[in-house]
């Protein structure tokens, strides 16, 4: 009883601390303060790992997954509510969320099933362009988001044969070539706007226009990005539920088997091709839906958003968080998106620093920040 109460207290405190930290981090502007905050967080994490707190916290979390999910959502809502009137912080939060969705797609592909995809930004881009083209038609915009995913999955199906027939580096080059092909195609195609890109009409849900600020009374006016953040949050939750359910189910078991040893999996009668197709298509679908909402939120897209380096950023989020680890993906997406935005001093050097950090992580902690644990069939079971 006391144990379970302690667990719950730890989770609530942790969520509150995370919310407070995120709010402070987004709110402060002074560069020195931001650096101090980052150093403080790093020291805290390091000390936690050193004295074994991290381990016991992780156990508390895994025993109460349901409560943890609720606490995280509540913490996110607190952060969103805090910044209800500020455009830029909300835009950043929504961007993080959409990156999380796209990276969940990639996680399905190479975190779960081991199908490499270096064209994540291209499938994200398919979603964006779908939203741009279909946004002006009479199709309901919520449907356009889903269509963005569907069309990304259909475009991805062109690659299924080469992806299935190849392995390792050969498979990598298929997707890299596709990513480059996609961007060059957009740049030379005049109907899709060429290098200048296209404007996208904003989200509109049952007559509720997302691009208007929300006026509550005379002097309380909420940022219109709040609409997008909340929709993105709903999408993240749906994606998360989908990913968790798949991971826990026999489908996830098949994915793991295919990733770990194709030959052995085939010997046990697992249809490798089927599961690779399922993972590849579902992953592209998720990236496409995220792209569609992203385009509506920004209102404008251009081919330069979907370069090879953007695909690399998505891949490095997955790797940084830990392959197949969903919480890790969220943390890594937050770091990769927010750090460069906040550290204006390093703005110019951000790709350089970011690449150096990635090299160090790959050399010294190749399993990522929060590596995916072993499958736990009984919550809280310590094997």
């Amino acid at each position: 009883m006391t144990q379970s109460f302690k667990d719950k207290a730890v989770i609530v405190l942790l969520a509150a601390a995370a919310a407070a930290f995120t709010i402070t981090f987004i709110a402060i502007e002074e560069q020195a303060e931001i650096f101090a905050l980052i150093l403080f967080a790093a020291a805290l994490v390091f000390a936690g790992a050193k004295f074994g707190f991290t381990r016991s916290i992780a156990q508390s979390l895994s025993r109460n997954e349901r409560l943890m999910n609720v606490a995280v959502i509540a913490a996110t809502l607190v952060v969103i509510f805090w910044f209800r009137e500020d455009h830029f912080p909300l835009l950043m939060i929504a961007t993080v969320m959409l990156y999380v969705i796209a990276c969940c797609g990639l996680n399905m592909q190479f975190g779960y099933t081991g199908v490499v995809n270096f064209a994540g930004a291209a499938f994200f881009g398919v979603g964006c362009y779908t939203a741009a083209v279909l946004g002006d038609t009479s199709i309901p915009l919520l449907l356009v988001i889903i269509l963005g995913g569907v069309i990304a999955a259909i475009v991805g199906s062109v690659l299924i044969i080469p992806v299935l027939r190849t392995r390792g580096h050969y498979a990598a080059v298929v997707t890299i070539a596709f990513g480059l092909l996609f961007r060059t195609f957009l740049e030379v195609n005049d109907t899709l706007g060429g290098p200048q890109g296209l404007g996208v009409s904003g989200m509109n849900l049952f007559g509720w226009d997302f691009n208007n600020n929300i006026e509550i009374t005379e002097n309380i006016e909420l940022s219109f990005y709040l609409n997008y953040v909340i929709l993105a949050l709903v999408m993240v939750i749906l994606t998360f539920v989908l990913m968790r359910r798949i991971e826990r189910s026999w489908i996830g078991l098949n994915f793991d088997a295919v990733r770990l040893d194709e030959t052995a999996a085939a010997c046990f009668g697992i249809n490798i091709k089927r599961w690779k197709i399922v993972a590849f298509t579902l992953g592209n679908f998720l990236a496409g839906t995220a792209g569609a909402l992203y385009a509506m939120m920004l209102g404008f897209i251009a081919p330069s958003n979907f370069a090879f380096s953007d695909s690399l950023i998505l891949v490095s989020i997955v790797l940084l968080g830990g392959m197949g680890s969903l919480w890790g993906t969220i943390l890594a997406a937050g770091l990769v998106v927010l750090l460069p935005e906040k550290l204006q001093v390093i703005q110019e050097y951000r790709f350089l620093i970011y690449a150096v950090v990635m090299i160090l992580i790959l050399l010294f902690r190749p399993q990522g920040i929060l590596p995916r644990g072993l499958r736990a069939y009984i919550p809280g079971w310590r094997g």
Partner: protein, 306 residues
């Protein structure tokens, strides 16, 4: 289409093919000895070109203005410094990750490529703007009807060919080449036979990177313009060429390089409605070829041990 324009396309295509082949040879050498992809290859090429460019500026500054001596200096510095850089990369980034999943090596070198690219952009004087690379080769040209053949193109093509033949002789006819091939075939047996594995890996990376630097200088001399981003596309194309030809096989790399250049040229000539789509066309064909021959045109010999 008239003969002159066609001839121009052919010369241009051959020049591109030579450059791609030189880059692809590097990829295939690295893959041979270590089964890794070093994706920073294109950016090493770019750094090599900038090293050569700086050498040129330095030589002009101290008053050496004989074009031939300048050319030799540029080549020696570019190739030499990149050979050293290649060996350093192998020693500190690739070898430590030898037992890690191949994806990690790929990512580490991709990130290193970003580091090199950004370093040139930020720290080279005025590095974010394109630089005018000097023409150090004779500039005469011969006219054959409507077709003009430039002397520098001929010299570059012959130079590239000599380098490829040189690498081929080195791999197939010398003791060093024998050691490289032995390591490529079976690392452990090669070690048992007294081959210094680490040394051979470093030498191979030095060789491949030097060849890339040569290709970079060639690119600079031909187009007379260099910029910090030139390596990325050349690297990806070289990688695709090596893959299409079949990794681990030098002839495959050469074939792949010329094939890719041929496809681009064909795309530019044969798609009159949209020559802008030539890269789209070339990459689409590459994907199709990989779907058709999953381990490249000259297939890598593999047998899976269970």
């Amino acid at each position: 289409m008239d003969v002159g324009l066609l001839g121009q396309f052919v010369v241009n295509g051959m020049m591109l093919g030579m450059m791609y082949a030189l880059v692809a040879v590097g990829f295939t050498l690295f893959f041979g000895v270590l089964d890794v992809i070093k994706f920073s290859h294109g950016d090493v090429l770019m750094v090599g070109t900038f090293a050569g460019f700086s050498t040129y500026l330095g030589m002009t500054a101290i008053g050496i203005d004989n074009a031939f001596i300048q050319l030799v200096g540029v080549l020696v510095i570019a190739v030499g410094s990149m050979a050293i850089l290649g060996a350093i990369i192998a020693r500190y980034l690739v070898l430590p990750l030898k037992s890690a999943p191949p994806l990690n090596t790929l990512l580490v070198t991709l990130m290193l490529g970003t580091v090199l690219r950004e370093a040139i952009r930020l720290f080279y004087p005025d590095g974010s703007n394109p630089k005018h690379f000097p023409s150090l080769l004779p500039t005469e040209s011969w006219s054959l009807g409507s077709f003009t053949l430039r002397a520098d193109s001929v010299i570059l093509l012959i130079g590239g060919l000599l380098v490829i033949i040189g690498v081929n002789v080195l791999i197939n006819r010398t003791r060093l080449g024998l050691a490289i091939r032995a390591v490529a075939q079976d690392e452990e047996t090669a070690k048992c036979m007294g081959i210094n594995f680490k040394m051979i890996v470093l030498l191979t990376f030095a060789l491949g990177s030097g060849v890339a630097a040569f290709a970079g200088v060639m690119n600079g001399l031909y187009y007379n313009e260099i910029n910090f981003g030139m390596g990325l596309l050349l690297g990806v194309i070289g990688f695709s060429a090596a893959i299409v030809g079949g990794l681990g096989n030098i002839y495959g790399a050469i074939l792949g390089g010329f094939l890719f250049a041929g496809l681009q040229t064909l795309g530019a000539v044969a798609l009159p409605f949209a020559s802008a789509y030539k890269d789209v066309f070339a990459f689409a064909v590459v994907i199709a070829i990989i779907a058709w021959r999953p381990t490249g045109l000259i297939a890598e010999k593999t047998s899976e041990r269970v």
